[in-house]
Amino acid sequence: MEIVGQLQKQYVDFITSLFREAYLDDQYVQLQKLQDDSNPEFVVEVVSIFFEDSEKLLNDLASSLQQQVVDFKKVDGYVHQFKGSSSSVGAQRVKNACVDFKNFCEEKNLDGCLRFLNLVKQEFYLVKNKLETLLRLEQQILQAGGMVPPLE
């Protein structure tokens, strides 16, 4: 079917670019491998929790950095969480931003922390957008009766 072929090509091109631009890394491939016919919604479920969890973490980070006296240990705790969850879904750029963010927490550098909060936020919304597009493409392929091309 022509439309399935077109959608599949779109999907492959898109996901290839996501890997090339480091939005996603091999861990996303691992998640895809862990999904099978008995749990076809696995990736969607995990990614959805990641989105929810991350929004909350971003709020917690913003409010903890707005305190009169900033508790850098607390901030570090939140960044550690974010680093973990982004790593688990393969959101490489978010994870890398968190690694740098942690350094500023350890140095108790408020300016650095605020800058990196903005960066992490930016990277998160970018990858969220990309993942939503990717998952939408998958749905379209399935609805058109096709199979989602497996990742290398």
């Binding site: 861990q27 691992q30 491998k33 862990l34 099978d36 008995s38 749990n39 696995f42 479920e45 995990v46 929790i49 990641f50 929810e52 969890d53 705790g77 550690h80 969480q81 973990g84 969850s85 790593s87 688990s88 879904v89 393969g90």
Partner: protein, 151 residues
């Protein structure tokens, strides 16, 4: 001697479905592990920290008040290492100290895979150490184990 078909079936269901307690303070990771285990035909109970896990197992501080036998029904505990309050390592120790729970296998997950950490956990009696983020090959290994324990 008569065998009651329905109760035997119930018993088989209990044996076939391992009951796993999953412990992690990271909600994304907890969801990931929970979903993976449920898809491997396990019954899953989740806890967001070591204290909650111990309370569930009936090993909480208020030992006299812990009249539950949840612990005896759990076939596997899988826990993150790095958690606030009580680490996975400390949780492992408490489990191994308990007469009821000491033979239940404990699997530790961690994003830091230094030999020191791995050896420390294995020496304390951890059954398996799985690096984070979870890879397909490690989950496969765990699933094989679960199938054996389920029987």
């Amino acid at each position: 001697m008569e065998v009651d078909g329905s109760s035997t079936k119930g018993l088989l269901n209990h044996i076939e479905k391992p009951h796993v307690l999953a412990v992690d303070d990271n909600l994304t990771d907890l969801k990931l592990v929970e979903t993976l285990l449920k898809n491997s035909s396990c019954k899953v109970t989740t806890a967001e920290n070591g204290l909650m896990a111990l309370e569930y197992l009936g090993l909480g501080n208020d030992k006299q008040g812990s009249l539950n036998d949840n612990g005896s029904k759990v076939n596997l505990i899988i826990t993150d290492y790095c958690m606030p309050g009580m680490t996975g390592y400390e949780l492992l120790k408490k489990i191994k100290e308990s007469s009821v729970m000491k033979n239940v296998p404990v699997v530790i997950m961690s994003s830091e895979n230094t030999p020191t950490r791995i050896n420390k956990c294995l020496e304390e009696g951890a059954h398996m150490f799985i690096p984070k983020p979870l890879k397909y090959s490690d989950v496969k290994k765990l699933r094989c184990q679960l199938m054996q324990w389920g029987n």
